[in-house]
Assembly symmetry: none
DNA sequence: AATGAATGAGACTTCATTCAT
DNA sequence: AATGAATGAAGTCTCATTCAT
């Protein structure tokens, strides 16, 4: 893109400016916006500015493209959470930091992460197993975070996790970017609700 | 069906044995199982045992059929919650009863209700407004239930609602019918987590 | 077509004038002329005067259409041979009659039969087994015809059959309709060559 | 190959290890196995281990590649027959030797020759004339062979040729490599059938 | 109320081929 | 001689929908 500005012409087919990154970004954006089945190969191609068939230089099927977007979504949200909790040692603040990172990813920052909470693996049978495996990779992080919490004896930590993640993952269904509450504020509220009160 | 019971014979009365109920049931089942876009008009027709074109005797478009299923889903889950809280006066037990009813509907009993938590209104633009209006009708119930709770001053009741409903609505994503926890147990766990502890 | 001449308008979608027979005829013609893989669904549809998708009202795949053409080809050539030998009792004249019928079918009369000697079952894996079974049905006729021949002891009747049928089936590769020799003449020549002389 | 033998090392000489021979061999193999239209440029390229585009360093079109395979097929089967009849003077034994060579080529040895009896020139219009010319070159050999036969007066030698070659060329349709009869045995049987007895 | 055949648009995908590198 | 990315046309097939019967 810069190149074309500099040279004054949209160079075509240099090895350097492969469209692959653009394809992934566009696919991620459309998948999380319109859903997987609601997005056509044509949609993606025309948003990138190539022909539909050209997508198949990079991915052998549309399902495969989804899988590629999905792994990256999991990678990125894992990394975001990891980074967010890195500097904090206390269990509850760590959990809150993770929630902030998670919400920021799926509400604002990261189309790839959004895809992870938007697309149901079982709706895409040919890659369902891969997607589920990826998703589980992410959930493992939360297992650890919640295990570390000083919860009253007898608390069902599995229910705790399912509930918290459910509440977070559902947020894209009602969240409006222009709303009052930032992801950070939301996370604080959510955690406050869960924290055993003195 | 009732008709045949009354008349004592499976007579082919033009009105009595209309396929409409069957069509709705089937559509509800498929929509909540495979999603709206993942379900074709043919899927529904062939499950009912009629031809695709015959569906258009009852609905003018597939989107319309969805809207019909969706209203009924909201009606039914409203009624279920209403019934569940009818005999209880205390705020927290009422909330728990509502949660039980909600979870039982979307996890076990009611394909129509499942559709409501499965299909995103905005994915079906032509009827999106109707669906949203229906869904809001349901959420109003929860507003009232939560308003009645004796929560610590300063609690953000909107966040409370969004969080609780999010946690509930996300449950179909991980719930397995054969699992250990019944909807009732789950609801109890969830409420326990939210209830300010003494 | 006649109808449209009479009524003055190309009636569309009456139940009576289904395009199915026309589709089969056209497919047979194109398959035997251009080969199976050399014929596109579009070719067939546009020759019939319908849209490509409309073919799928009658056949669920292109391969299925081929199978339908193929069975009919076998049926027809079986019937033609059957009819040709019905009035003859002597073994050699029966064989000659069969050859005449066979050659007339695959050289002049019958696009369906031509498909049978043009398309290799193994080239269309999804229906290969069905095609082979059909083809074998036809070869059984020849087994009987050749068994009845008074050949010198020690003649390999299997080789005889394979050779004769091979010679016949290869004929479309060199036969020109405008040529001198009619199928009937050819058959006579061929049989003469095989008949033990003297 | 020779090059590496001579130099004693699999040196990457620009000319020596050209992929051209491999491309031809692979194309011949796939064309005779799957047919011309059933073989894609990608099939060939990936079997050779290069990219589809790289084929166009050697051939300007897929049709051209076919033509190259086809000429070589004709060359090789001509040579095989030539060699087979070289040491024999008697007409019938010469014919039988030719049949053996022909059958061995198209049933066992020679993918190139197989292509010649598999692909219909008219299916590939752009090179049809070249293919036909090549094929005729081969048939000329048989004209001579059959002309030399001491056949009963009045025998139609053209029919004789068409019939014999047809029977031979059709053999790939039923021959199984693991079967009992070798090409040599088959040829003997076939000739026996044609030879005037007594 | 339902059928059977068709429509027209568009789905995903594959093809032979090109061309700067 | 070969690559990698892209083209443009065409491939088979599916979709929601229509309409005379």
């Amino acid at each position: 893109m810069m190149a074309s500005v500099l040279t004054g012409a949209p160079r075509r087919s240099a090895h350097a400016d492969s469209r692959l990154p653009q394809i992934l970004d566009t696919a991620a954006h459309l998948f999380c916006t319109q859903g997987y089945q609601g997005t056509t190969v044509r949609d993606i191609a025309s948003a990138v500015g190539i022909l539909p068939g050209s997508l198949y230089c990079h991915f052998s099927t549309k399902d495969d493209l989804l899988a590629a977007v999905y792994v990256r979504g999991v990678d990125q949200i894992c990394a975001a959470v990891e980074a967010a909790i890195a500097r904090t040692a206390e269990p509850w603040p760590r959990l809150e930091a993770a929630c902030v990172a998670h919400l920021e990813a799926i509400l604002r920052d990261d189309d790839y992460a959004r895809v992870v909470v938007r697309v149901r693996p079982t709706d895409v049978p040919s890659v369902a197993q891969r997607l589920i495996k990826d998703r589980n990779r992410y959930e493992a992080q939360w297992l650890a975070l919640i295990k570390a919490l000083p919860l009253p004896a007898g608390t069902d930590r599995k229910a705790f996790r399912l509930m918290l993640l459910g509440a977070l993952n559902w947020a894209p269904n009602w969240y409006r970017a222009d709303g009052a509450a930032s992801p950070r504020t939301l996370a604080r509220h959510f955690i406050a609700m869960f924290k055993p009160h003195g």
